[in-house]
Structures are given as structure tokens and as C-alpha cells.
Amino acid sequence: MAQPLVKKDDDHDDEAEYSPFLGIEKGAVLQEARVFNDPQLDPRRCSQVITKLLYLLNQGDSFTKTEATEVFFSVTKLFQSKDFGLRRMVYLIIKELSPSADEVIIVTSSLMKDMNSKTDMYRANAIRVLCRITDGTLLTQIERYLKQAIVDKNPVVASAALVSGIHLLQTNPEIVKRWSNEVQEAVQSRAALVQFHALALLQQIRQNDRLAVSKLVTSLTRGTVRSPLAQCLLIRYATQVIRESANTQTGDRPFYDFLESCLRHKAEMVIFEAARAITELSGVTNRELTPAITVLQLFLSSSKPVLRFAAVRTLNKVAMTHPMAVTNCNIDMESLISDHNRSIATLAITTLLKTGNESSVDRLMKQITNFMSDIADEFKIVVVEAIRSLCLKFPLKYRSLMNFLSNILREEGGFEYKKAIVDSIVILIRDIPEAKESGLLHLCEFIEDCEFTYLSTQILHFLGIEGPKTTDPSKYIRYIYNRVHLENATVRAAAVSTLAKFGAMVDALKPRIFVLLRRCIFDSDDEVRDRTTLYLSTLGGDGEVVETDGDTKTFLFGDLDIPLVNLETSLKNYEPSEEPFDIDSVPKEVKSQPLAEKKAPGKKPTGLGAPLAGPPSTADAYERLLSSIPEFSDFGKLFKSSAPVELTEAETEYAVNVVKHIFDRHVVFQYNCTNTIPEQLLENVSVIVDSSEADNFAEVASKPLRSLPYDTPGQTFVAFEKPEGITAVGKFSNTLRFIVKEVDPTTGEAEDDGVEDEYQLEDLEVVAADYMMKVGVSNFRNAWESMGDDFEHVDEYGLGPRENLAEAVIAVINLLGMQPCEGTEVVATNSRSHTCLLSGVFLGNVRVLVRLQFGIHGSRDVAMKLAVRSEDEAVRDTIHEIVSSG
């Protein structure tokens, strides 16, 4: 391969796009491949053709089956040549062609000859090729040679055999497992990389034998490991052993000393691997963490970008669990904000924003401002999102953060970026009442000069809802009316709607709004004119100024209460006739509106403006299912559906699980039944429920299942009535009753006569948690403060002896069935006290917030202080009752 493939021209200045493969074409190359069949082989020419074939494959060209076979067969002829370089290319192309099993046989003997050649390079490469293309049957033939190769004196040959072993373990584990002695020997090899490959294979052979892996790690951590790669591997194995033994033993962590000693290794990859392993130990203590953080801190100021990136990425993860441990590195990280590698800078910012305290916010903002202009939009979005969460964390700092957001809003940027900023401001306005006025003004200024119609209309809509509630609504009118003059029709229409909302909500502004609206009657756009006329007449603009009545407000602010998708389909299906379109006929089943949007407008602000989580899609499905059953249609709105509870053991004749649907005054049990016997058809399937142990429940309806064929799930329902507002609990015993008919397995037809039969199911309980919906709140403190002490009920409880605090916390959370907030469900190991914040919505859509304070005494007795805040006193008491009885 001495000479270039194509002879270079002497003057190549004029050929900027010169390439030896210029104008290469598959058909022609395949023709050229015929030289492989020449009786007198020209090794150089053959190598060139193979390179061309490889080039084609590399560029994504693919050969058809026949083409590949043809090339493969002619390539096999090249084994005749003794040329070193050509042989190497032959190996390469055989691997790329990945021949089929019947083709492999052709080359097997040639490759086996090479495997036993005196030349090390032939041996190593032949092993790799043969193991890549071989199948199980052939492997037994060559196994003997492979075992020899593993302990070969030449490290390249040994490595080739070991790496091939790692690949073969996936397909032929039983064969490779027999090599364990040889591999064990190779682990002791003096060649660094052989040791690495042997270690990798040995661990994979033994991975199911925990004790063996543990022994292997123990012996190696004491011995010498030669290559940094092998050392990294050993660290990974050690961490795995630590992870697996964590459950069984406490006290000193095994191998921690080993990990710590690796922090002083001379290779950077080992130091980093060890530091990362320590930070990822479960329940790592601060003392264990410190040495790792120290080396990572050193990496932060390294000249190598990869080390800085590795360190800041790891610290970013640590910051989520141990923010305090990372604060030492903050100074170093601040200097990384201006790192020329933007991935490093972004990670540094997000880490700092996670660990930063209230006092450093201002300084941080100043630094971020300096470099915002020279980074790409995608990074800016990350920064904006980090700032949003920081602001929610430190609401007192809203002023500087809001200023920052408004500044970047004025600068250049694409749609996604601007949208992220606007969304952030909207969320801040919702969550931080003090920020409302300034935030709204920033948004107003933004729409003065906004090129995105979508954002303008969104902001105008938001202004219409929030603006009238501020102290001085009149100052927004100018901004809104300007839009009517200067914008396109879509924005103009939105502006008209917003004006109308101000008019409806603020009586003092009404006359002025009417003046403005009347000017819009002559707009050039239909939609704008229509909206204006409509609003003028609903608000009474043509007559005297009157107080806006409730209906108008609902019209302006309320939504249709119908999913738009359904409305759209209904309208499409409507055929023009005498009968007017009836909006009530539109199905309301799909709940697409999040709870918050229905509650927020019109009603008084609750301070809980944070968006509540929308119901999951399964809830939609349940609601649709239940509303389709006439017996249950008058039960009202479905409050909550539980997760399915299994009432049968796995793999029994009939599999039954139950879903509890909670309504205001009813509870419906949905039994999902599956018949797992092919020879049976069940008919008239129903569940007989004995509610004698459930005092407050009275059965009102049941809906049996007519037929339950094999392997087709069906549902039967039983409904109970219960007193409104009471969290009735109780135990129900269930019996499945049905008529069973034999089915002829050959014809699939059922016999006419059936036998009545029963099948005992497990008991079912309705517990207090069933009346609680897990709904999180984005800013617990805000929500808690805005509820106030007046709605609080505090009491203390002893929980008796517990294994540890974590267990007690989980028990109480499960008992109440509420959503833990801000990650407070996680208890630090060995801590003596813990505070847990819970949020939920109780039956009747009552928001409940709970603060649990736990303490553990020497004798493992756990005491708990329970503070409940809710606007409904009965609900507060109920929560305490649940805890005291549970």
C-alpha cells in the first residue's frame, strides 16, 4: 500500500475538490472486482479494489444479496496470495460483508489455517474474523484453538481471542463459560490490555454468581492492575458489589477505601471514574463525598475541556441530592460560565442555579447577563428554565429575576426562546403575587414589538384574565388598543376580546371601553367586526352603562365546557336543516381541560394558581366508560379511580381485578374479568358483594356481564351509595357467580346447557386514601402561606417503634394517599428527624396541604407532628381521623 490509490497529479492546485473516489460507481467497481479471479493476482490492484468496495459500503451504498455473494466468493480466492497487506484487507471486507452461514464454510478452512499461522498478526485477525462470522456448530470445532489463543504469549492474539469471547458470550454462553480457567490465567497477564479484556470477559462469565464477582474484586483490589482501563472496569465492578450488598449489611462500606485510593491514581480516567462512583453510591454520606468532590473541583480548573465537562456534569448530578456538598466548588464553577465550550458553561449555570443561595442570586444574574448575547438559542432556553425554577425557589428575589427575563425578552431571539421566556413570566405572575404588576407590564411592552402572532394572542388572552384584577387596570388599555391599530387581523381580534373582558370586569372603565370598541366596528376584517358587535351588544354598549351580570361574565370568561375536538366533529356531522344545532348534543366525555383553568377565571383567586396536574388519560377512559352506562349516569362527576387491585392469584382459572371509582355520593366497583380456560364459556357473570362489614354502604345497582369467552376481558360493575361528604370505609367480600358452558375446542362451539357456579374472590377494602387525589403543587411554601394559619389543624401522634424514619414516612404517605412535594418523601440515611410536605385534593375538590414532621428516638419510637391546612374544616378533621385510626 505504498503508493496512493490513484497517482497524484503534479499540479493539483486547480482541483479543490479532488478525491481519489471522484465519480466512483458501484457497477463499475463490481466489474473491477473480477481481478480477484485472475490466475496471476496483482496484490496492489486487488487491495485498491477492496478499498473501493469498502468506500462504497462506508458511504452507505448497499449490495444486493447476489452482489454480496459474488464479491464474497471472489474475495475468498485472494487467500491464495501471500501478500501481507492484501490479506489484511481481505479480513476487513469479509467482516463488512457478513456472509451467511453456508458461505462461511468456504472461508473457514483458510481462516483456521491462518489461526495457526506463525505470524501473530494473521493469528489475531483470523480469530477476530472467524468469531465474528461463525455460528455455534463451527465454534465447537475451533474452541480448542481459541482456548490456546487466550493464553498466547503474544498480547495481540490473546486480546483478539478474549474480545471475541466477549462477543460470543451473547450468542453461545455455554461454550464461552468453559474457558473460565484460561481467562482466569489471562487476568494475571503482564500485558495491560490483555488483563483488561480478560477482566471484562471473566466478570461477564460470572455475572450471575454474586459471590464469585465479589471474590474476584477483592483479590484484584489487593493485586496490581496494569492498565487504567482495567482499573476503571474494576471500579465499576466494585460499585456493583457495593450496590448489591447495600441491602444486607450496614456499617462500613466494603471497598470504599479502594475507591478512595483510586482518587490518587495517576491516570485521569481512573480518578474520574472513582470520583463519579463515589458520588453515585446510594446514601453516600458527606464525609465519604468530600474527597471525591475535592478531585472534581481540581478538574474544574483543568486545561482539558473533557475533564472540566466530566467534573461539572458529575457535580450537576450531585447538586440534586447533596446541594450543600457542591457549594465549595461554586467559585470555580462561576468562572466556567464563560467557558468557550458552551456545554460546559450551560452545565455550570444550571448547577449554580441549583446550589445558589439567596444572597448569590444577584451576582449570578450579572454574570449570566454578560454572556447571554453570545450563546445559541437552545442554551438560552436552558438558562431561562433554570432561572424560572430559581425564582420559584426564592420568591423574594423575583425583582432581579423578572428584570433579567424582561431584558432578554427585548433582545433578538427565535420563537422557541421567546416562548420559553413568556411562559416563564406567566408562571411567575401566577405563583408570585407580588410579581404580577411588573410582569404584566413587561409583557405589555413585549407585545408592542412582537413579531410572533401566536405569542401576541396568548399574551393578550392572559392580560384579559389577569389585567382587570390588578389595582390599576386602566394602564393596560393603551397597550391593548395599540394592537387594534398596528397588528394583523388575528391579533386585532384577540385585542378586541381582551378589551371586552376589561369592560366586563371593571365597571369604571366601561364607558371608555365602549368608545374604543365602537371604533373597531369599521375594521376591515370580518372576525374583528363580528367580535366587536357581539361584545358591544352583550355588554350593553348601545344603551346605558349597566352592571355586568353573571351570564355575560360566564359568556366572556367561561369556556364551553366541551372539548373542542368533539365540537368540531359534531359540527362537521351537522346537516343544515330546520332544527338548529344543539350544543348540548356534543359529547362532553373527553376531559381535556386541566382543573385549574376551569376554576381560575370568574371565581375569586385562591392563591393556588399553580396549574394542577391534568387527569391522566386512563381517568378519561374510565369516565367515558362509566358515563356510557345508564345506571351510573346520574352519579355526577367522577372524582377518582383507583389503580386496579388484583382479587385473584396469578395464573388461576379466572383472573379478576377491581378498580374503585369514587363519586360524591357513590362508589362503583369495576371488576375486570378474564377467562383463562379455553374449554369454557362463561355467561351471566356477576360479582356478589357482601357489604356487611361496610356500614355506610348500600348497594344500588349492578351490571352483570352477559358473556365472557376465553381470553377476552370483560367488565361487570357493582355500585354502592354512601352518604355525601363522608369518607366511608369498609371491607367487602366478593364472589364471582356465573353460568359455565363447555366449549368444544375443535369447533369452538359452546354447548346449550350450562351449570351455575361460583368462584371465591379475595376481599376488597375501601380506605380513606381512596378519597384523596394525588395532585402536586409547584410551590408548596407559597400555597401553604396563602392558605394561612386560620385553616390549620395541628396535632401530634406516636407511631410506635419503626425500622427507620424512611419506613414511617412511606407508611404515612400511603395511608393518606397524597402527593409528596419537592422530593421530601426521600429521607436521608441515618437522619434523626425529617419534614415531609404533601399535597392533594380531597373528595369534593377540596385542596389539602399537609406538613409532616417526624422525629425518631433512641428506642426507634417515631413521633409525628401533623399539620393540615385546608379551607374545609371537616376535611382537616378527617385527615387527622385517618391518621389517628390508621
Binding site: 496512493p4 471475541s164 461477564q204 476503571c232 472496569l233 474520574f272 471514574e273 466530566a310
Partner: protein
């Protein structure tokens, strides 16, 4: 669970993001279209950065990509999100240095031939000899490689990749060893057992002297 350090792909692209050589070791990008899309994304994300002195690093689609550029060649190594980026950087450095060593050495061989040809053809006056030697020295000391050369010696680059990673498992990261394995197959490279620069230069000089004496 896979504990062994794993390389997902090795890429060599040109200054426009076009593929010079590439090798994928996992099924994350099953089709050529997916591979090209990934290469385009990697190239676009990194092209404006200055990765000429140190190995740089970034995240893309939950992968870590380390990269280094020289002239119009862009070298990349990709690994999973959980991979140790320092290990990936070592692989990249091995690949980068090995390709550099190989092409630099081969250029030392090819430059004299063509230039001597030129010298002989035009019967240039002796002062041009000085000129020619300086060209030779510049070529030999040139600390870089180009796409053009990379394509000319594509076979060696493909062999290089083959010696660095096998099915995702790292075989070798020391550039000298890699070059030794690749070059030992190559008929030119007898005498390249030690790939030190001075030796490469000495070989070239000898070559020149012999050619001139002919």
C-alpha cells in the same frame, strides 16, 4: 448490565460534514439515513467550536460526543450518556494521533517522488534544489493531515479503526501501537517499526539522496 466501557461509533468527517470514514458499533442508528442524520447533527453542533488544540466534548441525543479537528478533518467518538468521557477522549486521541502519524509518514515518502519528478522534468537550475528541499522539509514537519490524503489512504484509516475498537470494545488506544499494527501490513512501512518523527524524516532524507544519485 453492561459494565465494560463501550464506544458507539467512530466518525471522520470533512469540513462540510461529509463522511470520510465511519464505523458504528451499536444499533442506535439502524439505517444509513439515521446515521447521516446523526452525523449532520454532530457536525452542525460542533462545527463552530475550536477543537484544534484540545479534545472537546458535548452532549447530543443522550450521547456523549468527543471531538477534535485538524485542517479540514473532523474526528468524533461517541459513547452512551453514562460513559466515562475521559475514556472516550483517550480513544479519540488514539485514533487522531494514529491517523496523523500514518499520513505524515506516508507524505514524507510521496513528496520526494513527485517533487523529484518535477525537478527532473523541468531541468530547473540548481538554486531550485534549495527550494525543493525546503518544500520537502515543510511537508515532513507539517503537523496535520487533510481530507485529500485521508481519502487517498482510506484503507489505512479503515484498518486503524479496526484496530482501535472491535464491536464497541476498546482494543487499543496507544497511537504508536495502532500505527505499528496497521503499518506492519503495509509494504512501505518496513522501517516504520518505531514511528518517531526523526526517524521518519531520516528515511525520507535517505530516499531523497538515493533518488538524486540515480
Amino acid at each position: 448490565m453492561e459494565l465494560c466501557p463501550c464506544v458507539k461509533n467512530i466518525l471522520l468527517l470533512d469540513f462540510e460534514g461529509k463522511r470520510v470514514a465511519s464505523k458504528y458499533f451499536c444499533d442506535d442508528w439502524p439505517t444509513n439515513g439515521a446515521k447521516e442524520a446523526f452525523e449532520k447533527a454532530v457536525f452542525n453542533k460542533t462545527q463552530k467550536t475550536n477543537a484544534r488544540s484540545e479534545v472537546e466534548v458535548t452532549m447530543l441525543e443522550n450521547n456523549i460526543v468527543v471531538y477534535k479537528f485538524v485542517q479540514d478533518l473532523h474526528f468524533f467518538v461517541t459513547g452512551g450518556e453514562e460513559e466515562n468521557e475521559v475514556i472516550l477522549a483517550t480513544v479519540l486521541q488514539g485514533f487522531f494521533d494514529a491517523v496523523g502519524l500514518l499520513l505524515r509518514f506516508l507524505l514524507c515518502h510521496s513528496v520526494p517522488c513527485s517533487s523529484i519528478h518535477f525537478y527532473a522534468q523541468y531541468k530547473s537550475p540548481p538554486f531550485l534544489l534549495f527550494n525543493f528541499i525546503s518544500i520537502l522539509i515543510i511537508h515532513c514537519f507539517r503537523d496535520n493531515v487533510e481530507k485529500r490524503e485521508a481519502l487517498e489512504y482510506l484503507d489505512l484509516i479503515l484498518l486503524c479503526i479496526d484496530e482501535i475498537v472491535d464491536g464497541g470494545i476498546i482494543l487499543e488506544t496507544d497511537a504508536n501501537v495502532i500505527v505499528g499494527k496497521v503499518a506492519s501490513h503495509s509494504t512501505v512501512a518496513e522501517g516504520l517499526s518505531e514511528q518517531t518523527f526523526s526517524q521518519a524524516l531520516a528515511t525520507a532524507r535517505e530516499h531523497l539522496a538515493r533518488s538524486l544519485l540515480k
